[in-house]
């Protein structure tokens, strides 16, 4: 029987709570930016920082309020943003243009809550352009972008770690100046440890999917990692992921799964399109095919061992390592944070095809996959789009592989019937391969 995750309600409450705080807080600071950023530096300003992060907000809104989301995307296009621009960006900016905001509990608030500042990241070409546009439209919100020159083992390159750390240090000075607040290194170090802990715990939870049956499916993975993205710096977020880790360990020990019928194990490279297109997930579910590992859910905000001796490893990092980290000075805490953030798997493939290939090789092997599903996201310009074209070339002779286009949140950009037909063929390919090897 399918297992129901007990921690789920607490996760939902936490996520909704963060968003409600951003919408309705009467005190404290509202901060906006890519959640693909190091968040702990904000927490040195106090524990009244209310966050909203671009990508998870756009993704969850598309799942919760699809009609509103479509209107937002259209509003952004009418305001001049290109059809092919990032659809997360357009959905998010569309809300600013329409002067209203929706959140995961279904609330739609009229009047866009203006952030006090923007703290963000620049990795792809559009990343910080996104917030430049939001800032401009809101009459000039102070903005600090951190250049995350990630990709291909960057966290182990001292030159890059130093560059990112220097910027974060610069950013902390800016935060004090722009808010007029003092800065607590104690609060900062605590937030750094929490942030790293959550990322490492999530890596451990994902790694448990190596077992058969895999305890979690793609749908639960998608649902359970947003709290890690929305605000992973709090004690509460650590408690949530510790509880979940224990629960999933227990599932493995007792052979339970949220989707126990797992004839085929799939490794997936792409953004979470099955969320917006449940009909795609259904084709797989009906034949007992489950996505058990995906670079997006594992690696957008989760850490693993990464490149070891020239090859990628999805081995988890021992959570105890986090407790022992020396964060006794601001610089030490910044450096550890920069390293962990630069180590996110979804960044490694950007500009580093070899790292992307190595991640795919390792995931297929370690998660004992029967098939590789590649779904380039048409309006995302990192490896979520291009790397996969190369991956298909390389892997199709090694493992049943399918590739079709999707999009982050713009349903117009997906050829649904074509993708469905390809998915059916994919199932046949996996079936045939299984028969051959029987």
């Amino acid at each position: 029987m399918a297992y129901a995750v007990k921690a789920w309600n607490d996760f939902k409450t936490y996520q909704n709570g963060c968003y409600r705080d951003y919408l309705y807080a009467t005190e404290g600071l509202r901060v906006m930016g890519s959640t693909w950023s190091a968040l702990a530096p904000l927490k040195g300003l106090g524990d009244d920082i209310h966050l909203i992060g671009g990508e998870p907000h756009a993704a969850s809104l598309a799942g919760t309020l699809p009609d509103e989301s479509r209107e937002n995307i259209l509003a952004a296009e009418i305001a001049g943003m290109g059809f092919h621009s990032c659809s997360y960006l357009k959905l998010f900016t569309g809300e600013v243009i329409r002067d209203k905001i929706g959140i995961t509990d279904g609330t739609i608030k009229e009047g866009y809550p203006r952030p006090d500042l923007i703290w963000t990241t620049h990795l792809c070409n559009q990343h910080s352009k996104w917030y430049q546009e939001v800032s401009r439209r809101l009459g000039g919100v102070p903005l600090f972008p951190v250049d995350m020159i990630g990709g291909g083992n960057a966290e182990k390159d001292p030159k890059i770690v130093n560059y990112v750390s220097n910027q974060i240090e610069e950013g902390i000075n800016w935060l004090q100046k722009v808010t007029g607040r003092g800065y607590s290194d104690e609060l900062f170090a605590k937030a750094v440890r929490n942030e790293i802990k959550v990322l490492v715990l999530w890596g451990n939870i994902c790694a448990l999917n190596r077992h058969a049956p895999a305890p979690l499916d793609e749908r639960r993975l998608i649902a359970l990692f947003p709290p890690a993205i929305v605000d992973r710096t709090t004690d509460e977020s650590v408690r949530l992921y510790e509880t979940l880790f224990e629960e999933v360990k227990q599932m493995v020990a007792t052979g339970q799964s949220v989707a126990p019928d797992q004839r085929f194990r799939i490794v997936y490279f792409g953004i979470a399109h099955t969320y917006g297109h449940p009909e795609m997930a259904r084709i797989l579910r009906d034949v007992g095919a489950e996505i058990v590992a995906s670079v997006y859910t594992f690696g957008t905000c989760g850490n693993f061992k990464g490149i070891v001796n020239g090859e990628w490893s999805w081995d988890p990092i021992d959570p105890k390592w986090v407790d022992e980290l020396d964060l006794s000075t601001r610089r030490k805490a910044i450096t550890e944070l920069a390293k962990i953030v630069l180590g996110w798997p979804t960044w490694q493939g950007v500009r580093s095809y070899w790292a992307l290939e190595s991640m795919a090789r390792a995931m297929i092997k370690e998660f004992n996959a029967d098939g590789l599903l590649l779904a380039p996201s048409r309006s995302c310009e990192t490896d979520f789009r291009n790397g996969y074209v190369g991956l298909q070339r390389i892997f199709k002779s090694k493992i049943p592989t399918i590739e079709y286009d999707t999009d982050q949140v713009d349903v117009r950009q997906m050829d649904l019937p074509g993708a469905q037909r390809k998915t059916e063929l994919f199932v046949h390919l996996m079936e045939a391969a299984k028969r051959r090897s029987a």
Binding site: C124, N125, S128, K129, N166, S379
Partner: protein, 390 residues
């Protein structure tokens, strides 16, 4: 009638832009080391100091579908075209291919060369800031340049001295100064040279050995600086955009039913390529190069001032509008270019304030001449109440 000196020089530049790989191959046949570079953030001075001639890889402007199975179709057509140059083996003779981590689209074109076109053993990716205005950028660039220099020293099997670098900086700065003087001619009400010809010389310089290029530019300027205007000045148009290496579009601008003068091109294949200098005579050569490149007109993909989020590039565009006085502006950008359209949205209110109308043209591998002509002529009709048309 005998050709003027300036005409023969322009013809030489034009022949190079029409067959850049032929030009690069001729350098190779003369026994020179030749490196392709895919982004203008590559510090060409370091290559030149190592005795290597940097040659920019640009689009061949041929209709092709080959790259669609190597690069996703939603990457800009320019990156497809540059990838095609590798896959079609037009540049197999190159000794090296380099790029700096810049726009992701071009990065993928570079990856295609390395992965699928046989350049794996002769390639170098220079880690480079994605935001050029961060305070720690210069120190990072210096370190990155240092690694690049070391790689090149191994490649050419000799040390690159400070004197070598200083010499290269001077040669390159000279090119920049000469090109700037050439563009300044277009500020005149009745320029002695056409905009497309100036753009052609600028484009050619990106493929050329700079010492040879400098001689030609000096000759051209000598002929032009005291020359009278070409006569019949038309509507002054400025182009602003991403990579636009298709001279055919710029030629078209000056061959419409109305008389037009192209007076400025803000793009990385035109003025953004050279509108800066590297400080000379500095003890620390690599920091000098870093500072020089940081002072460029920022590429839209790298432009975000920490603290304010300002797009510095817009200040330059405004300055150029004030100095070169265009009556209309043509946004020219590659299909699927991701950073450029975001700048255009922010630039429109500035243009409104300055009273400069604009039009958008989207470039692809080949130029849809008829559609562009119709759009441009309609645009000029719109300008008609403001600007008297010939």
């Amino acid at each position: 009638m005998a050709k003027k000196g300036s005409d023969t020089v322009i013809e030489r530049f034009r022949s190079i832009t029409e067959n850049p790989q032929g030009y690069a191959k001729s350098l190779h046949e003369q026994g020179k080391l030749v490196a392709g570079y895919m982004c203008t953030h590559v510090p060409e001075e370091i290559l030149y100091a190592a005795g290597i001639v940097p040659v920019r890889i640009l689009s061949p402007h041929v209709s092709q579908a080959m790259t669609r199975s190597y690069i996703h179709e939603t990457y800009c057509s320019f990156s497809h075209d540059c990838a095609y140059q590798g896959l079609s083996h037009n540049y197999d003779f190159l000794d090296l291919i380099t790029t700096s981590s810049s726009c992701i689209h071009m990065g993928e074109a570079f990856n295609v060369w390395v992965r699928f076109a046989g350049f794996e053993g002769k390639s170098y990716l220079i880690p480079y800031p994605h935001i050029i205005e961060t305070k720690p950028a210069a120190a990072f660039m210096k370190e990155s340049y240092g690694e690049f220099k070391k790689f090149l020293e191994g490649f050419v099997k000799k040390p690159i001295t400070d004197e070598d670098i200083e010499k290269a900086i001077k040669v390159y700065n000279q090119t920049r100064r000469l090109l700037k003087r050439l563009w300044e001619l277009l500020r005149r009400e009745d320029p002695p040279i056409s905009g497309p010809d100036v753009a052609t010389a600028t484009l050619a310089s990106q493929f050329m050995d700079k010492q040879e290029c400098n001689k030609l530019l000096e000759k051209l300027l000598k002929n032009l600086e005291a020359a009278p205007g070409k006569g019949a000045p038309g509507v002054r148009l400025m182009v602003s955009g991403g990579a636009c290496d298709d001279i055919e579009v710029l030629d078209l601008l000056e061959h419409l039913d109305y008389s037009v003068n192209l007076i400025f091109v803000d793009s990385c294949t035109a003025t953004r390529y050279f509108w800066f200098e590297i400080p000379e005579g500095r003890a620390d050569k690599l920091t000098a190069i870093a500072e020089g490149y940081i002072s460029r007109i920022p590429c839209p993909s790298k432009d975000n001032v920490p603290g304010t989020g300002e797009k510095k590039r817009l200040r330059y565009v405004q300055q150029f509008i004030e100095e070169f006085k265009p009556e209309g502006l043509v946004f020219l950008y590659q299909r699927f270019c991701s950073p450029q359209p975001h700048d255009i949205v922010a630039m429109r209110p500035i243009l409104d304030k300055l009273g400069v109308p604009s039009i958008d043209l989207e470039l692809d591998s080949t130029v849809p001449v008829t559609q562009f002509r119709t759009q441009l002529e309609a645009f000029l009709e719109i300008l008609k109440p403001v600007v008297p048309l010939e």
